[in-house]
């Protein structure tokens, strides 16, 4: 019976540990909302979300930042995801083994490199390049952010997509090839659809990374809190807004930054919900 006490003790210990994760989410959520709600009340939800002017302490409108965050991450997805998926296909199915074994570690290395390094690269190479290429006065633009973000999400999406492509049961592949289907046909009609949920998870992770990225963005996007009219203009993301003004802000201004955080969080949660929804649809069919 001695062991039984021990067993019970550990069971509860493990449960308690597991509960700390729950507690953390609750605390973070509580603080975020506790600090952020006053600003939303003060400005009015609609005004806060749709207002184009960010003039603390008088006007708190984050529409331009929502747009900047959306556009920069969407752009990164549009550029980065197709490249990443094809690259994953390359590694998992096309590349000769020696080449894949050479490229894969390089990509894994890049997945681990701090985003500040990507930002630094963007600052010294991409920003000046955009400036000369498009002949505009300042290269710190939405476009620079999009490029940095798409490069940054490549390793994440490639790694996860490759893993899920490899996880597709080989029976599918064998079945298709045994019917005389070509390799490419098999990849696009059987393997990729079967790996869909994993690839989607990779994309969502990549998007989350793009939406949540802060320092790299601050370095290349110019941070002007105005509504951008084109990709060749400076803009400020939700994350940059928090990071730039956080240390200075007091009172309602600080609260408005927490409120920005709430918006950001809801953004990411919606993204996850989309993933769940898409996956559920698949499971259902």
């Amino acid at each position: 019976m001695r062991t039984d006490y021990l067993g019970t003790f550990f069971k509860y210990l493990f449960f308690l540990s597991a509960f700390i994760g729950v507690l953390s989410v609750a605390t973070i959520g509580y603080f975020l909302f506790y600090e952020g709600i006053p600003a939303i009340k003060h400005a009015g939800l609609i005004e806060f979300l749709s207002g184009r002017e960010w003039l603390p302490p008088a006007l708190y409108g984050i529409a331009s930042m929502i747009v900047a965050s959306l556009v920069s991450s969407l752009g990164a997805v549009i550029i980065g995801v197709p490249i990443a998926i094809l690259c994953a296909v390359f590694l998992a199915e096309i590349a000769p083994k020696w080449l894949a074994n050479l490229v894969r570690p390089a990509i894994e290395l890049l997945a681990g490199i701090p985003s500040v390094v990507y930002g630094f690269f963007g600052l010294v190479i991409i920003v000046p390049a955009i400036q000369t290429l498009f002949n505009i006065p300042a290269g710190s633009t939405l476009l620079a952010a999009i490029i940095v973000l798409s490069v940054m999400i490549l390793p994440t999406v490639i790694t996860i997509a490759e893993t899920s492509i490899r996880a597709v049961p080989s029976t599918y592949k064998e079945g298709a090839l045994a019917l005389g289907a070509s390799q490419v046909y098999t990849i696009f009609k059987v393997i990729l659809p079967a790996a869909r949920s994993g690839i989607l998870a990779g994309i969502v992770l990549g998007v989350a990374r793009a939406v949540g990225e802060t320092m790299a963005i601050i370095m290349v996007m110019g941070n002007a809190p105005a509504m951008p009219n084109s990709l060749l203009e400076s803009a400020r993301s939700l994350t940059a807004n928090i990071a730039l003004e956080m240390s200075y802000a007091t009172g309602m201004h600080a609260s408005s930054l927490y409120a920005t955080g709430i918006v950001l969080l809801i953004f990411v949660m919606l993204l996850n919900a989309c993933l769940l929804y898409l996956n559920r649809q698949r499971a259902y069919s």
């Binding site: 062991t3 039984d4 021990l6 067993g7 550990f10 069971k11 493990f14 449960f15 540990s17 597991a18 700390i20 994760g21 729950v22 989410v25 609750a26 605390t27 603080f31 975020l32 600090e35 197709p82 490249i83 990443a84 094809l86 690259c87 390359f90 096309i94 490229v103 570690p105 390089a106 290395l109 890049l110 681990g112 490199i113 701090p114 500040v116 390094v117 990507y118 630094f120 600052l123 010294v124 190479i125 490069v151 490549l154 070509s182 390799q183 490419v184 046909y185 949540g212 802060t214 320092m215 994350t239 928090i242 990071a243 956080m246 930054l257 927490y258 955080g261 990411v268 949660m269 993204l271």
Partner: protein, 280 residues
């Protein structure tokens, strides 16, 4: 269109994308390393930083980074591993507590790191009064890496063949004995991978670190002191990139960071190999 032509077209697209990716990434690595390597010296790595401009070494940042890694891991790893044990070995997969815990860890994984910074600054630095300190930073980061540890450990635990559990229970072993003697040892390579992955995460973060641990350039004497990690240092430098000297420092710091990540990846690989060996 003929399938053969489609195939050719698709193959070309795949090769092109792979080439673009590889070239871009190689370009980036090469740019940083070629500019940074010549400036990385023993002197640079082991000397301290000084505002008067006498020295620009990064030793104090390396020490702060190590402090941050060790402390965060020693908080998060036990919690994460025990959580994973609860989820895989104790809880019924369909039970509500599992759903809640899983939902929460997944939410934690989805929270952008700047929000951790915001939270850590309000909660640990101000509300708990820990000030800008390694401790505040480590507490914040340990929540941030908790999902990584939980998920990776969970995967490692699930990968332990069910046959081991059956064999142990079949011999009358108790649950905790089985966990301790059979399951944890088999999952160890995976758990170590989890720890190393989170180390990478800790090293790579910037905003949540300087919002909680500050950015003082001296060697911290205790966990209650503020400190500047390598990544924060690189960020600071990029904000001050001015003289050639500062550019070189930035490239050199970036180079050191890349080499650190490389070392971490190599170690992970070696452990992964060990794992395969153990399961042959």
């Amino acid at each position: 269109m003929n399938q053969a032509i489609k195939d050719k077209f698709a193959l070309t697209a795949i090769w092109t994308c792979a080439l673009i990716t590889i070239l871009f990434l190689v370009w980036m690595l090469w740019h940083i390393l070629s500019n940074g390597l010549s400036y990385v010296s023993w002197e640079f790595v082991t000397s301290s930083y000084s505002a008067i401009g006498k020295a620009s070494g990064i030793w104090s940042m390396i020490v702060s980074t190590i402090y941050m890694v060790v402390l965060s891991i020693s908080i998060a790893a036990p919690l994460g591993i025990m959580t994973a044990l609860f989820l895989t070995e104790y809880a019924k997969p369909s039970s509500n507590s599992v759903k809640v815990i899983r939902f929460c860890t997944e939410s934690l994984a989805g929270i952008p790191s700047i929000i951790y910074g915001l939270f850590g600054m309000t909660f640990f630095v101000v509300t708990l009064g820990l000030g800008f300190s390694i401790l505040s930073g480590a507490l914040t980061l340990s929540i941030l890496i908790l999902p990584v540890i939980i998920r990776t450990t969970e995967e490692a635990l699930l990968a332990v063949p069910q046959a081991y559990r059956e064999a142990a229970y079949g011999l009358g072993a108790s649950k905790i004995y089985t966990i301790w003697r059979v399951i944890l040892p088999s999952a160890m390579p995976g758990i170590i991978t989890a720890v190393i992955l989170s180390t990478g995460r800790i090293i790579g973060e910037s905003a949540p670190v300087f919002l909680t641990a500050g950015m003082v350039t001296r060697i911290p004497e205790s966990v209650f002191d503020s400190g500047r990690t390598l990544t924060v240092h690189l960020y600071k430098l990029t904000q001050e990139l001015f003289t050639i000297h500062e550019w070189n420092q930035a490239y050199a710091t970036a180079t050191v960071l890349i080499m650190l990540v490389l070392a971490i990846n190599v170690i992970t690989k070696i452990i992964g190999k060990q794992l395969n060996k153990a399961n042959y």
